[in-house]
């Protein structure tokens, strides 16, 4: 047996240890990013989430001004904290529309009454169809859509107060 082959197991061991340390130090991003970033919002038309508010369709997102589209649900705990941030965004001029995933009108109304209502329009997506069509994989998620209805940015997870300037920049860039 040649000397090189004798050291092969050691080399394999070193390779495994280095791989493990590398992946522990820089974990893989397990978020599933939408491949529609940079592409037009797919055609959809959702019924209103609550009777007193306008419904949401793809046409409402191509009106010439950029929109923030927030995918939320009354049963989603991080969404509660996100409402405050969305309201701060709205106060600084952002147009925010909502897509309520797997939700009932009464539950949405109670959620908005309890936590606040930053939404101009709310579409009700009872079987996650539009959520899947957008390439979104959970709640909450937020898309920035430009005036032509093209997706410019996808934010996975709740928006933090610290993210507000970044979202406003994205909206500015989408004009």
């Amino acid at each position: 047996m040649s000397r090189a082959i004798r050291f092969a197991p050691l080399a394999v061991l070193v390779f495994i240890v280095v791989s493990l340390v590398w992946r522990l130090a820089t974990p893989v991003d397990t978020n599933v990013h939408s491949k529609l970033d940079g592409k037009p919002v797919p055609m959809f038309s959702l019924p209103p989430g609550i009777p007193t508010k306008a419904a949401l369709s793809a046409a409402d997102l191509a009106t010439g001004t950029p929109h923030v589209v927030n995918i939320f649900a009354s049963w989603c705990v991080p969404c509660i904290g996100e409402v405050t941030v969305l309201q701060a965004l709205k106060a600084r001029g952002a147009a925010i529309d909502g897509i309520a995933v797997r939700d009932r009108p009464a539950d949405i109304a109670a959620f908005l009454a309890r936590n606040g209502d930053p939404y101009e329009r709310i579409g009700s997506d009872t079987q996650s169809r539009v959520q899947i069509a957008l390439g979104s994989s959970g709640v909450p998620e937020t898309f920035v859509v430009d005036g032509k209805g093209v997706i410019r940015y996808q934010h996975i997870g709740p928006i933090d107060a610290l993210d507000i300037p970044m979202i406003l920049t994205k909206l500015d860039q989408s004009k």
């Binding site: 397990t30 599933v32 990013h33 939408s34 491949k35 529609l36 649900a73 049963w75 705990v77 995933v101 797997r102 939700d103 009932r104 539950d107 009872t126 079987q127 996650s128 169809r129 959520q131 899947i132 069509a133 957008l134 390439g135 994989s137 959970g138």
Partner: protein, 136 residues
């Protein structure tokens, strides 16, 4: 008293809801009546990856989103779409990540070449062994 209040609080807690209050989608736990369509839907469902329980197929996962994806697959196949088109539609949204079937992209080449490479390497090993024993 404080302890009693804490104890009362403990019993008053409810698990935080992680799921919606809506029933599963129509085709989430139901089969399509046409056996050929169901067979092709079932095959595709086993090869699509759950977005919530990453590592499970949507056939295995009980996540609501997986149920909604099964509904989407069965609904489209029942409407006459080919299963390859449904897969392509999902890949367009979530990338090749969502499909378990290996692609022909360069990143998957080692996977396709590995069996041939291992067979050839094994052949060489056996040839050497045979030569060594016959040489003795």
């Amino acid at each position: 008293m404080k302890r009693l209040t804490l104890l009362a609080c403990l019993f008053a807690t409810q698990p935080v809801a992680a799921n919606s209050n809506l029933p599963p989608a129509n085709w989430a736990y139901r089969q399509v009546s046409d056996p050929t369509q169901e067979a092709s839907a079932h095959a595709l469902i086993g090869e699509l990856r759950c977005l919530v329980c990453q590592g499970q197929s949507i056939a295995d996962s009980d996540a609501e989103l997986a149920g909604d994806m099964r509904d989407l697959v069965r609904r489209r196949i029942a409407a006459g779409e080919r299963s390859s088109d449904v897969r392509a539609w999902l890949v367009q949204r979530y990338g090749t990540w969502v499909s378990y079937r290996p692609t022909r992209e360069p990143a998957a080449w080692p996977l396709w070449l590995a069996p041939a490479a291992l067979l050839i390497a094994g052949g060489f090993l056996i040839r050497r062994r045979v030569r060594m024993t016959s040489g003795n």
